[in-house]
């Protein structure tokens, strides 16, 4: 039955249906159909002999099932001194919008929220900035918005949320948020939630996720359970959220598998750290199966992110990973 289904599905069907694939069989059928379509239409993926395309491909080529010049938006990751930026050619922004909504709603609800975003170091072409803007448009009230140095935006949002009872959501890059709490002791209103999106765009320092959450909870005057995390990236259109802890729960159309970095697509059992592989069915017109450069571990039916698998980790020796 699933095979029959996968043969019948077109990529446009998948684009319409991906958020509704609650059953494993349906998801498997969608995955197969999408892979067949992408292998046939994306040159780079068609030539790649395995399933999970290394994310590095997005830095080195146009990964798309359509002519890249027809993209309605190109999301770019930040560039490092050694590597080019990743580019995600988006044919249909509606897909991204649906993935954002369908991932956000079951976790946070419909709002309205006083939703403020602090994303220092992120460029306008970043997919995270786009996501934050859309969330503010859809679910934010009048006091919502972005801020960088202008801390009065946050102060006003706190005041407004306290006075109106509208829950406050503070979305921010992890180290940007840490800078905020380093500079001030904040007292967010009861029920406020902080969503850290990972990322070290502003500066690099070592901190574990539990320690990060503890510092943010302390600095914003909220319980640790109200510090949440978001896992997403330029190359993916979907996001996973960790609800007040470090275990991320992907939405039904996003499948996360941990792989042995030393072997070809060899899945690891729960509890064993490895490289995070993702199948994101929202990536209809690029490639849905991606081998990230993040280290993770499967735990309690979800996954934790342990850090970045960098060339330095591969070539050198990461003492920290030895302690996982």
């Amino acid at each position: 039955m699933p095979d029959t289904l996968s043969r019948q599905l077109s990529h446009d069907d998948i684009a319409r249906r991906f958020t509704g694939c609650g059953r494993a069989e349906t998801r498997a059928a969608l995955t197969r159909a999408l892979r067949a379509y992408q292998k046939a239409h994306c040159g780079v993926y068609g030539r790649y002999e395995y399933t999970y395309l290394p994310i590095a491909a997005f830095r080195q080529a146009a990964v798309a099932c359509f002519p890249p010049e027809k993209a309605v938006r190109v999301f770019e990751s930040s560039r490092t001194s050694e590597e080019a930026a990743s580019r995600h050619y988006v044919r249909d922004l509606g897909l991204y919008d649906r993935a954002i909504r369908a991932g956000f709603l079951p976790v946070f609800g419909e709002g309205p929220f006083t939703l403020v975003a602090h994303l220092p170091g992120y460029a306008v072409q970043s997919s995270l900035v786009y996501m934050a803007r859309r969330l503010i448009e859809w679910y934010g009230d009048a006091a919502s918005g972005f801020f960088l140095e202008d801390l009065e935006v946050l102060e006003r949002a706190i005041h407004h949320s306290t006075a109106s009872g509208t829950p406050l959501l503070l979305l921010g890059a992890a180290f940007g948020l840490l800078d905020l709490v380093d500079a001030h002791q904040w007292v967010l209103p009861p029920g406020a939630r902080v969503i850290e999106t990972g990322g070290m765009k502003t500066r690099r320092r070592h901190i574990t996720r539990p320690a990060l959450h503890a510092q943010l909870a302390d600095g914003f005057g909220i319980p640790c359970a109200q510090v949440w995390s978001e896992y997403g990236m330029c190359e993916l259109l979907s996001q996973a959220y960790a609800r007040g802890g470090s275990v991320y729960r992907p939405p039904p159309w996003m499948e996360v598998t941990i792989f042995d970095p030393e072997k070809v697509e060899c899945p690891l059992p729960a509890g064993t750290p490895g490289v995070i592989g993702v199948i994101d069915l929202a990536n209809v017109y690029t490639v849905s199966a991606i081998m990230t450069e993040d280290l993770g571990v499967e735990r309690n039916g979800g996954f934790e992110v342990l850090g970045r698998l960098q060339q330095s980790d591969l070539r050198g020796c990461n003492l920290l990973l030895g302690n996982v």
């Binding site: 050694e82 690099r204 030393e262 330095s312 050198g316 020796c317 302690n323």
Partner: protein, 341 residues
Amino acid sequence: MFDAIAQAAARWCAPGYAPRQHVVQATLQAPNRFTPEALAFAISQQMALLEADRLQAWIAQRRPLKPSTVGVFSAGNIPFAGLQDLLAVVCLGHRYLGSVSHRSPVLLPAFAAEAGLGAEFAGADEVWQQADAAIVTGTDDTRAWAESQAAHHGIARQRCLLRRHSYSAAVIDGRECAGERAGLAEDALLHEGLGCRSVALIWAHETLPLAPYLKSFARFRAVFPAHRDTFGRLATQRALLKALRVPHACGAGYLLSRGPPVPQAPGHIRWVPYRCLDDVIQGLAAHRARLQRVYAREGLMAQLPDCVKAEPLGAAQRPALEWQPDGVDTVAFLAALQETR
């Protein structure tokens, strides 16, 4: 002390020496990428350096005014990483308190015990609690972690020797003899491309034929087969190169790709064509912050700028006792430790 080290090293030089065999067996069972051949090479090469006179000349008269407890965090990516630190610390009269990587937990403690060095080994937390100076070798994340740990434990920054992530490069112009080509293969492949001295980038004159170098790589791999895990990693890399239509060449346990000077995964060597030596010099300058060493034939070494730490082809996996990672003299650092914390 020097005599005890030299005598222990002399015993360990013999591959049939039972304690060495025991250590080799235990080390090969750890989750590392050591092969029996590469491990034997590394032990023999390192042990052969440890002659009493050489040790004496290396340490010379340098001594700290007051001994410290030096916490040493050694990497486990290549065999005997951290041996130089161990010897420097104990020979200068400091207390050595080491934390070894789970990838290579046996080699250093076993040799320290054999030589009667009085070195102590403990878990990371205990080392940080007791240390009043630190040497840390690892990735950028490890370095960041060490910086925060040192600050947390009140160890001043100038009492920490924190080594950064780095890699090495080679420059070739086609005038390399067969021995130098074999040396290049060893530089790039011996420890599966791991370690800061291993060659990750090869600047090669654009007219150079690849075949003689590939032949050297294949010959090297016939003697030093790749670790089984290397094949899996290279298979994915090769598939990606093929998909991206990046020119590449591969054989059993090695992979070369042609392109800009961007280091790839270990074992995957980037072949960077150049037109003239100025291109190379500019390229090396761009990588200066990350470049540990540059290897070239001796005639070519002389044409490289002084700021480049150049060594002859074939030297990468045969570091001298006194070699200075990141250009920092470990003995000088340890001799300068005077006041606690």
